[in-house]
């Protein structure tokens, strides 16, 4: 059995993204959930599956069961792949509804990643959770994800001649998209000169190569094919979905190929399931904690040849009028980062429905969404409304 067209995203919901929500993680999550349920046009007690988030201080599935007054919770799972959770959860939810174990699975993530436990407080979490990092990497000063991702960026620049300006064009393009989005945190224009002059945090990564931290939550509902047709909106079909896990999932240092992580492993499976080639893609929502990962993913997806992602971005390829409009919501770099990449999925659904507002692009084909967690677990989804 394949998961092709066995499930659809029928509802999406996001809170306001901010730097200071004034709400608890739980309240944020409930708001996002209520919006997703309203968007799907179902009653909340029709939710019979839940995949909660292990990050932050939100609800477990038991908590949602109680606070939403669910009548028959039939399926629950928790995934543990950091920023890939938004899509590894979709993988699990798609399997649950395809098998008949559930009809409407709710996926939610969100927290006060700015005003609460900051996203950048991950060093302490790395110390606690990642044995290899604690033992063999942090004694040398490599204590935060930025150190390891900067090592990837430098390797890419060394091998392919990718330039800091090309990295900067990712940030500049995404900022231009954020300016069209009322729910994006960064609302000041960004020029390539400002990127180049911004503070170097971990050379070769400048301040504007790095994602923001935010408060906020997001949720979506995955419904079985027959159940999706009864929902309020045109279903967003899951054409293809796959996970990828590299040979050293907890360390970028000892990975057999420094530049090949889970997304590159998952991509061919997701595209094959969808029955498309990379050039059939009409837009991309790529997980972007650091600017260079967008370039690397354009290559990992097979959209650009190896080493050609940088020039593609520099020539305007990911802009709204480019060949592959990318992160049209502003991404983690300029919209928000506290929802395990569910904001990327929400934007893909809006683009496919034609409700992306000022950032709407003219779509005739599928959209790809990616997620990357911790040190390289990845997931890829291909979605379409037709």
């Amino acid at each position: 059995m394949t998961l092709h067209r066995k499930a659809a995203v029928t509802g999406i919901g996001e809170t306001k993204y901010s730097k200071g929500s004034g709400m608890s993680d739980r309240e944020l999550q409930l708001q996002a959930v209520e919006r997703a349920i309203a968007d799907a046009g179902i009653n909340r007690d029709e939710i019979d599956g839940i995949i909660p988030s292990p990050h932050g201080n939100g609800f477990t599935s038991e908590g949602f069961n109680e606070h939403l007054g669910l009548k028959r919770l039939a399926f629950s799972a928790t995934v543990h792949f950091g920023g890939a959770n938004g899509l590894t959860a979709m993988h699990a939810a798609t399997m649950a509804v395809a098998s008949g174990s559930a009809r409407h699975v709710l996926v939610v993530a969100g927290r006060n990643g700015y005003s609460g436990t900051k996203i950048s407080a991950r060093p302490q979490l790395l110390q606690a959770n990642f044995e290899a990092t604690r033992e063999f990497e942090s004694p040398f000063g490599a204590t935060v994800p930025m150190h390891f991702y900067a090592l990837m960026a430098q390797r890419m620049m060394h091998l392919y001649g990718t330039t800091s300006r090309q990295l900067g064009m990712v940030a500049v393009t995404e900022r231009a998209h954020a300016l069209l989005n009322d729910n994006a945190i960064m609302q000041a224009p960004l020029s390539i000169e400002e990127h180049q002059q911004s503070r170097m945090l971990v050379d070769p990564l400048h301040l504007f190569d790095c994602c923001i931290e935010s408060d906020g939550a997001a949720a979506y509902i995955v419904s079985a094919a027959d159940a999706a047709r009864d929902c309020r909106n045109t279903p967003t079909w899951v054409l293809g979905i796959a996970e990828g896990h590299p040979d050293s999932p907890s360390s970028i240092v000892t990975r057999s190929d420094t530049l090949r992580s889970g997304i590159g492993i998952a991509a061919p499976y997701a595209l094959k399931m969808a029955g498309i080639t990379p050039h059939d893609l009409q837009a991309a929502m790529l997980y972007d904690p650091f600017s260079f990962l967008v370039i690397l993913q354009l290559e990992a997806l097979g959209y650009c040849k190896t080493g050609e992602g940088g020039p593609f971005v520099e020539s305007g390829g990911i802009a709204l009028d480019g060949a592959l409009p990318t992160n049209t919501h502003g991404g983690l770099l300029s919209q928000a980062h506290s929802v395990a990449g569910i904001n990327h999925l929400c934007e893909a659904v809006r683009q496919l429905r034609g409700t992306a507002g000022k950032a709407q692009v003219d779509l005739s084909g599928p959209v790809v969404v990616t997620g990357n967690g911790d040190f390289g677990d990845g997931a890829v989804a291909v979605l379409s409304n037709s």
Binding site: E135, F136, P139, H158, L201
Partner: protein
Amino acid sequence: MASKPIPQPSEASLPYWEACRSHELRIQRCLQCGSLIHYPKLRCPTDGSDQFEWALMSGLGAVHSFVIPRRAFHPGFKDEVPHVIAIVELDEGVRVLTNIVGADPADVRAGMRVTLEWDDNAGEYPLAKFKPIVGGHA
């Protein structure tokens, strides 16, 4: 001054750290298939064996990638930045996370040849750091 994170050996890695005490860089090697394994593991990822030796490395290698933190993200490194954090590929083929010492960070390049330099000021276990080989090149 805040202290730096110090190595806490696991059941798989204790021989690595004990060798460091004698200034020997030893990497786990599977006795069955001969493959080098880093970081240390309880089973050989290639063939599942649990029989290992600890192979002495030459201490020579090349910079695979490197970065220069301009600010400290951990208070223990406040007096050290900017410094060079690097992945070094040993000539035996294993990659390690380390620091490049004895060089101006601005002069470090990917491909640069380096040799082992023990840091005895890191606590209980010396740390295997690397310095450029004078006259060495990619």
